[in-house]
Structures are given as C-alpha cells and as structure tokens.
C-alpha cells in the first residue's frame, strides 16, 4: 500500500515487516517517533526504558532469547549506551538486533552536533544510512538480515531531515520469523577476558567480510552520467546533490556507511576527473577516501558545522542564482520559551529572585536559562546537574552550598540523576536538588516514564515514589511544593538552602499541555489598576505582553495559572469568568 510517512514511522514499519518482536528505547528528538509508531503494532512489544543503556541491554537480552529486537535513541543517547554497544560487537547476536540512532545536524533540539558514525567505526559495528522514508523502511528490514548473517548488531543511522520528513513509501506484509532457539554459549556470550580475546579476531574478520559486502550491495550505487565531476555522498546530502544536479553528474550514493567500500570508490574515482565528497558533519567518507589513496575534495568546500541544503551545494559549485526579496526592518528573534502556564516557571522565578546558582539539565526546563528568567548557570548532559552540583560544592564549600541548586526533570532524574543523588548522600555535600516533576517526559512530546504510573501503551504500571526513593538513598530532607504557589516556593527554597544537610525539593505539578490538565479561564488586566511596573513581565510568560504601555494578557495563550496574579502588587491582574 502507498503511504506518506515520516522517516521514523517508515523505520517502525520496517521493524514491523521484519518481524521485530521487542523494542526498548529512551525518547530523544529526533528518534522518538520510531518507538511511538512501532507501539501501534500489537505484534511488537514496545517499552520506554529508564535510559538508553537499559534499552540497549533489553534489546540484547531479547536477541539472545531469540526474538528480533531493536532499541532507539538520539545521538547523545548512544553515548549512554556505548558500554553495551562496544561489547555487543564481540558477542554478536542470536536473533537480529538493530540500533536506531538519530543525529541532529544543525542542533534543532540537541546539546551537541556529534556524528554517530564515529561510534560505528570505533565499536566495529556496521551502519546503514537511509536517505528517505522508503529507504528507512527497506534498510530497517535489511538491517536484521545483515545482523543475523554476520552475527552483529546493526546501527541504522537517521538524521533530523530523514527522521522528520514525510515521503512516500510502499508498505508490505509482516513476515514472522521463527523464534531462534536459545542455547547456552559461554564462549560467545560471557565476555570475560579469556572469551573476549577469542571474539576480537572474529570482529576483525567480520568487518572485512562486511567491507566486501559494501563493494556490491543494494545499499551502495552509482547513478548519473558524465566524466567531469563525481560526487560521493550519503543520507540527506544525497538529496541535495540530486536536487542540484539531477542525473547530470555521476553520484556514488552510499547506504552502508560503515564499513566503507574500497574498490567501489577507487573505480568510481577513476571514471571521473574530479571527485567531491559531500557529507554532513564530519569528513568520515573523505578521510576514508584519502586513506585508500583516492584524491578528493570535501571539507574545504563543505563545512562540518550545521545542516546542508540544495543552496549550499549549489553555491559550492558556483551555480546558485535564486532571486529573493527580504524585509529591511529588523526582525526580532523568536526563541523557544516555557509555555504559558508551564509549572516550571514559578520555580525558576523563585530561583532568579533569590539569585541562586543553578545547575541545569536536559529537558523543556533548560528553557529556564532564557531571558528574562535567566535562572541557569550550566547544562551539560542527562543527569549532570545532580552530579555537577556535588563537585561544584566540593570546590566552593559552605558558601556555595547555601546558594546553589540543581534542577532536573522527573524523567531525566530517573535516567541518570538518581546516581548523582546517591553520590551526594554517600559522599556528603549539603547540596539542594530540585526535581521538577511535571509527571511526564515533556520536551520529546509526552512519553510516560517510571514516575508517571503508566507504561508506553498507557496501561497502569509500577510508579516510583520519588519521595521514598530520595529518602532511601540517604536524603532525609525531602519536601514537595506546588510551583504555582510562589510564596511556598520561596519559603521552601530559603529553608532548604540553609539546611546543614543535603535536601531534595520536589516541585510537582503536571505539564500544562497534558490532556487531563484543564485550563482555567484566561486572566485579564484591569488597566486602571496597572501601574506599568512590569513586574509581571519578569516571568517571561508568552501570554503577557505590553499594549499601550500597560500589561495585557493574550487570551488565546493564557491558561489561568495565577502565577502572575500573585506577583502583581496592585491587584491589577484579575480572574477571568
């Protein structure tokens, strides 16, 4: 059947058709929808794991047990899962296993621009890279075949423009594979030194075989004509190349991006006068070409920073001629902001007001760093707020402990914040950790997690009691506060900062975008009472703006959270009807 699907949905369809039986993942833009779409197929067991390492190990176990399995994550998630990855390269698989990882060139929703191909090379695991949804579906299926034939996990590399672009696919039927019998095999599955030493040569041998697969396979192909120019490319860059040149130049399109072919590239290079490698992020294909003695141009023409486009490709060859007009007025930027009614806002306002140093973390709440709140000092990676504050306080001592906090969301806390909290208790700093518990994994679009009481399918599940968890690791001071109550937030924060032992503040209120959270009537400004003090503007609420010098509330955005009302010294903000 013909369908129009985003790349992630097409990959999910490929998992389904390949008879994949288990998917375990941690959400992360731009990978999240693979698992969400896979979960729509009853034949595939799908779950949100607490983090990517757990997810990959679940997929490992499922493969060992004899079912085709998959785990999905964003590029930085693969760092978290790198530990099982590098050794799974040695164990190989029983039933096929596919790791879907999505890179984010241009950092639409990420903290760095790392290139996952490095992980494939370093772990000696094959990697496929689709260039549209149809290839996403096909490559997901083929990945299982390679996995089983070569006894290896296979990485399917997506990037934002493939993951989130809809294009047309032809769907097929699911082929249910025979469950592979599980047989005890210590030499293959117990990676202690004696066994691992025997597996490493197998890995090297496997990569040689995979390299010869790359010389002649469905994933790598030569297109187009001409002897002047040959372009070697892959993934989304291929689409930009074809957009500019069509079939007028020779193109070597690579789909198996690790290991890279040798003879195919050498022969391609011989057939043209000039070879240019066009790849987003790092010059990996380019370096490979040079290593095998093929002269190419690459990163001197195309940056390793950001996304490409057809315009960037055309410009590099001096053929861009698109005319356009632009406004002369300065167009103010529109950065993302915490939503109107976001429960994080009240806590961030309190932190800003108290001039507290804030170690931040990964999630919607990183937006608390933005003006006018500006309530953040550092953000590194998942869980780093809780580990980082401990080191910060060790470095600065007592004077820091009374004016520094860590903020972390509920999902991120479970992902890798709790280990940092154990460290705070165990190695003793009087650190104050604020768990911003909005009862959902927010930024990636509302996924359930172990604190919400529901699983991926929306069925009731075991629910972590955050208060008990924190107490059980050795934190005696645990307080729950409603971030819509500014007075309570202020009191609790001041009290816990002064405490001479570590403490956790749970700032708890569900995300305002959750369906079960009902908006209240929008507030309104009594223009006669408004004294133009602009105190309400310090909240950075997108629903409050200035009209004719006075505060004004956008009724299409306001959800009646009342936080601004508490702030107004002149009672100018009133409840709506």
């Amino acid at each position: 059947m013909k369908e129009i699907l985003i790349g992630n949905a097409a990959v999910a369809r490929g998992l389904f058709e390949a008879g994949c039986g288990v998917v375990s993942s941690y959400p992360g833009t731009p990978s999240t929808e693979i698992t969400e779409f896979a979960a729509k197929y009853d034949e595939i067991y799908c779950e949100w794991a607490p983090n990517e390492k757990v997810a990959m190990e679940v997929a490992f176990g499922a493969s060992l047990g004899g079912k085709r399995s998959c785990c999905t994550m964003k590029h930085v998630g693969l760092n978290v899962a790198a530990d099982p990855l590098y050794t799974m390269s040695y164990t190989g698989v029983n039933a096929g296993m596919v790791i879907c990882v999505a890179d984010d060139p241009g950092m639409h929703s990420s903290q760095n621009e790392q290139d996952s191909r490095h992980h494939a090379i370093a772990s000696k695991v094959p990697m496929l890279e689709p260039a549209d949804s149809a290839e996403g579906l096909l490559f997901a299926k083929k990945a299982f075949e390679i996995s089983e034939e070569y006894d290896t996990p296979v990485i399917l590399r997506m990037c934002t423009r493939i993951a989130h672009s809809q294009s047309i696919v032809e769907t097929g039927e699911r082929v249910e594979p025979q469950q592979k019998p599980y047989e005890k095999n210590p030499g293959k599955n117990i990676m202690m030194p004696g066994n691992a030493k025997k597996r490493h040569p197998f890995v090297e041998e496997r990569m040689k075989k995979l390299a010869s697969l790359g010389e002649n396979c469905v994933f790598n192909r030569v297109e187009g004509e001409g002897e002047e120019l040959g372009i070697i490319t892959s993934g989304t860059s291929y689409q930009y190349v074809k957009e500019v040149f069509g079939d007028s130049v020779k193109v070597l399109k690579l789909g198996l991006v690790n290991p890279l072919p040798v003879e195919l590239i050498k022969n391609f290079a011989k057939s043209v006068k000039r070879v240019v490698v066009i790849e987003e992020l790092d010059g990996i294909i380019e370096t490979h070409c040079r290593n095998i003695g093929v002269e190419v141009e690459g990163k001197e023409l195309f940056s390793c920073i950001g996304e490409f486009s057809q315009k960037i490709v055309a410009k590099a060859f001096g053929i861009d001629d698109k005319e356009f007009v632009a406004a002369d007025s300065e167009i103010p930027v529109r950065p993302p902001v915490l939503c109107a009614g976001c429960p994080h806002r009240g806590m961030f306002y309190t932190l800003a007001k108290n001039k507290v140093t804030v170690h931040g973390d990964i999630g919607c709440y990183t937006l608390g760093a933005q003006a006018p709140l500006g309530a953040m000092d550092s953000t590194l990676c998942m869980g780093a707020s809780v580990s980082g504050i401990h080191g910060f306080n060790k470095a600065l001592g007592e004077k820091s402990e009374s004016k520094t906090v860590a903020v972390i969301g509920d999902s991120t806390f479970i992902h890798s914040g709790v280990t940092g909290l154990i460290n705070i208790a165990y190695n003793a700093t009087n650190s104050t950790v604020i768990i911003l518990d909005n009862s959902i994994t927010g930024m990636t679009g509302h996924q359930q997690n172990p604190t919400t009481g529901y699983n991926l399918k929306g069925d009731p599940a075991a629910k972590i009691d955050l208060e008990s968890l924190c107490r059980s690791v050795g934190i005696n001071r645990v307080t729950v506060v409603d971030p819509y109550d500014l007075k309570a937030c202020d009191e609790v924060l001041k009290r816990e900062l002064e405490a001479k032992e570590p403490s956790v503040i749970i700032s708890r209120r569900p995300c305002v975008l959750l369906k079960y959270v009902k908006a209240k009537a929008p507030l309104k400004v009594n223009k006669e009472k408004c004294k133009k003090c602009k105190k309400c503007m310090k909240l950075g609420c997108p629903a409050i703006r200035i009209r004719d010098g006075k505060a004004d509330i956008d009724t299409t955005l306001c959800v009646g959270c009342d936080v601004c009302k508490q702030l107004c010294a002149f009672d100018a903000i009133e409840s709506g009807e």
Binding site: E243, F324, V325, A326, A327, E330, V337, C364, T444
Partner: protein
C-alpha cells in the same frame, strides 16, 4: 512537472504539523511525489517553526531554501516577514493577521516591527492577509487557524475542494472533522 515548494511558518504550538499533514495527503492523493519536512522538539515550544512541503514528478530535497517557495503560509505576521526571503519571485504569501510577541519584544529588548506586511507589499511581494483567528473562532475553535489557512491556500491551488475535504476526513480525528470542514470553508470562501 517542475517541483513546487510551499513553506508553512508560525509559532510553535499553532498547529502547523496538522496543516502540513493535510497538505501532504492532498498532494499524495493527487498522484504527486511529495516530501514534507517537519520540526519537532525544542523549537515547538513557542519558537519560530517552519515546515517545508515539496511536490512534483520526482522530489529529492525535503527542504526549501531562499528564493524557492511558490507559497508561504504564515500563521503570524512577524513570521511571514522572517521567512519572506524564502519566497520565489512571483510567489505568494498567505498570512494570518495575528500578532504574537516574541520574548525579546515581551522583555522590551526588541520592538515588533509595525506595518511589516506593508513593507513587504511595497517591495512587490504578493501578500494575502486574512484574520484566520477570527474565522477559526467562527468555525468553532481557535485551534482551527491551520485549516482556515489551508482553505485559503486551496483558493489559489489547482486541487478541487472535494479532494481537500476528503483529505481532512483522512487526517483529522473523527470528532473534529465537521469543525475543520467548516474552518476550511471559512478560509476558502472569504
């Protein structure tokens, strides 16, 4: 047919994903090759968002760059101006007359440029401004701004209205179909 390009721009949360889903479906039903590039994640939180829609006999790139768009559909005035350079010479902007202040304007660090659409018109840009928010309210929901704008686009487009209606039935949840049909009509017949 040469590949055509449309960009849908607005403020994260205004519903551009549904608009692009509808447009993609209409174009696929017409037999075109189609690519639609969406934005998810961080920028959906009230930031400037852009969705690219491209269709033709064979579409390669899923994105649109400066000077390439046949149409810009903007959910907000400032966003129309921000993305105006993406319009091809002779292209058309359909814009909702709503003004949503970005944070630098809210905090007083910048000013919302007054008369920005007139500025574009003075430069020869074909700007069709409609109050899609008011029409959406009339149709039954402020959230239907997206479908009102699609209704407006349909006016300039070579696809019959019945086919748009059929696509609405395919992509919208059943309980919202009637309201969205109404929203489409409002944008289309104004």
């Amino acid at each position: 047919m040469e590949t055509k390009s449309i960009i849908i721009v607005g403020v994260g949360g205004q519903g551009s994903l549904l608009a692009s889903k509808l447009l993609g479906r209409v174009l696929m039903n017409e037999g075109y090759d189609v690519k639609v590039s969406e934005v998810h994640g961080m920028s959906q939180r009230g930031g400037s968002v852009v969705t690219y829609v491209r269709f033709g006999d064979k579409v390669y790139s899923p994105i649109v760059d400066q000077g390439e768009a046949d149409y810009i559909i903007s959910f907000e005035k400032l966003e129309a101006a921000r993305w105006a350079s993406y319009l091809k010479k002779g292209g058309k902007i359909v814009v909702n007359s709503q003004q949503i202040d970005p944070m630098p304007v809210i905090t007083g660090a910048a000013e919302y440029p007054e008369g920005i659409l007139d500025e574009l018109r003075a430069k020869g840009v074909d700007v069709d401004e409609i109050d899609a928010l008011a029409l959406a309210k009339e149709a039954g929901s402020v959230k239907a701004v997206n479908i009102v704008l699609m209704g407006r686009l349909a006016k300039y487009f070579h696809v019959e209205n019945e086919k748009w209606i059929k696509a609405i039935e395919q992509v919208v949840a059943p309980k919202f179909v009637e309201m969205n049909k109404k929203a489409f009509e409002k944008g289309n017949t104004l």
